[in-house]
Amino acid sequence: MRIVRDGLATQRRVIGALLIREIYTRFGREGLGFAWIVAEPLVFAIPVLLTWSAVRNPYEYGLKIMPFLWTGYMPLLMFRHVGSRMLLFVRVNAGLLYHRQVTIFDIFVARCLLEIVSSLTAVLVSGILFYAVGLLDAPVDLPMFYLGYFYMIWWCAAIGLVIGALSERTEWADKIWMPYSYLYIFFGGVFWMAEWLPPSLRSWALLQPSVQAYELIRAGMFGNIVRTHGDPAYLTAALAVLTLIGLLLMRDARKYVVAE
């Protein structure tokens, strides 16, 4: 018991220290500094969303344009940021492994956590901004909206775990991530809903955890005016398997680490 408690205390301390270090190395201590965590995704998201909603036909989706784009684009940002920060995450931090307490899992948790917190803050701030100017309504079913985000976060973390661990082992991971994260815009459920697909295609599309997480988020956003196909039981099972695969790959990745 004692050993477990001490171990957890060490891990919390190490992850905390890594987070602070990550913030300083990424954002520096001058200028906006820490505030970049929130500002960085916003600088991206707000112009993109405003431009899109201006150039698209407002009834293109049969739904209000901004809420639809906003529920699609913000999780896309999280997915891409988490994934690309995880590529070669051990190698770029090999110096940290000089300290025995720091495990590659701690490095993963710290990086992933920072990226997720940053993305979620951007969701909150952009949501409030768009709501204030009347472009966005509040989600109809807030618990469902949160549930969808919960699975979306889990999906991003799990894919980060897998891609991060694989990238330490083979250069293919890096090369495949680029087209995958691009094609994800079309296949991942970012700008469409399962209901719009022909039934035969729909059952295939719904195998992807991201598509189902998007379904839940949109069920929360729009309520009964849309038919959605998200299944929390499937998501839990699929993401648990993906996480397990990621953890096994991660344990293995340690062997491939070559220090400076």
Partner: protein, 215 residues
């Protein structure tokens, strides 16, 4: 005690397997000072990295009942873009030591003064070595793993290092990789001679140095 049992490390480069260490074994008791001697590429740094837990051995294992420092060498252990103070803060946090105590000790020992508020990447090798060594003394380990670093400092630093390690901390262990005979004779009582990844242990340091010179 630290016991290395049949440590083997292989690297795969361009499809070929290169064996950096081949079944190296030794035991180090508390308070013992061991030198690792060998020519460039003999496997000294690889062995130190395995002992520091940075890389894992391909075969063999390490048993350890005392704490050991991270490898104190010319690189590693620091984030170059962060200042000396921020690096110190990070290391104090992960080892669970109060920053103020660490800072006071490092200030006194490393004599880096205002350089501590500048990025570590601007430091000279000697300054880095002083910071790394001072920090590890402040954290207080049972065993110090040193990769050439003492030789990088100036005379005054070398004298103070000797005092700290031998007079104030005579009960601590030391593993020192070096190819400088004088440094080894001053610091160590036993030696492990590495040649093409193979190790031989000597209780007589003079003899070990002679064997090394004849390689």
């Amino acid at each position: 005690m630290i016991r290395a049992i049949e440590l083997t490390k292989e690297y795969r480069t361009e499809g070929r397997v290169h064996r950096a260490l081949s079944a190296v074994s030794f035991t180090l008791d508390r308070g013992e000072k061991l030198a690792i001697v060998g020519r460039n590429g003999a496997g000294k740094s690889t062995l130190i990295r395995l002992l520091g837990g940075i890389e894992l051995p391909t075969r063999g294992f390490i048993e350890q009942t005392m704490s050991s420092s991270w490898p104190l060498g010319l690189q590693g252990g620091f984030q170059g873009s962060l200042t000396g103070n921020d690096n110190m803060r990070f290391i104090a946090r992960i080892y669970g030591k109060p920053f103020d105590d660490i800072k006071a000790y490092v200030d006194d020992f490393a004599e880096l003064g205002r350089y501590l508020s500048e990025p570590v990447k601007t430091y000279s090798l000697g300054m880095r070595a002083r910071l790394a060594f001072a920090l590890s003394l402040a954290i207080d380990f049972d065993c110090y793993l040193i990769d050439e670093v003492i030789a990088a400092g100036d005379q005054r630093f070398q004298r103070r290092s000797y005092e700290e390690l031998f007079e104030k901390r005579a009960d601590r262990s030391l593993i020192l990789a070096s190819h400088i005979g004088d440094v080894i004779k001053t610091y160590c009582s036993r030696a492990l001679v590495l040649h093409r990844g193979q190790g031989s242990l000597f209780d007589d340091v003079e003899l070990a140095l002679q064997v090394y010179n004849d390689l």
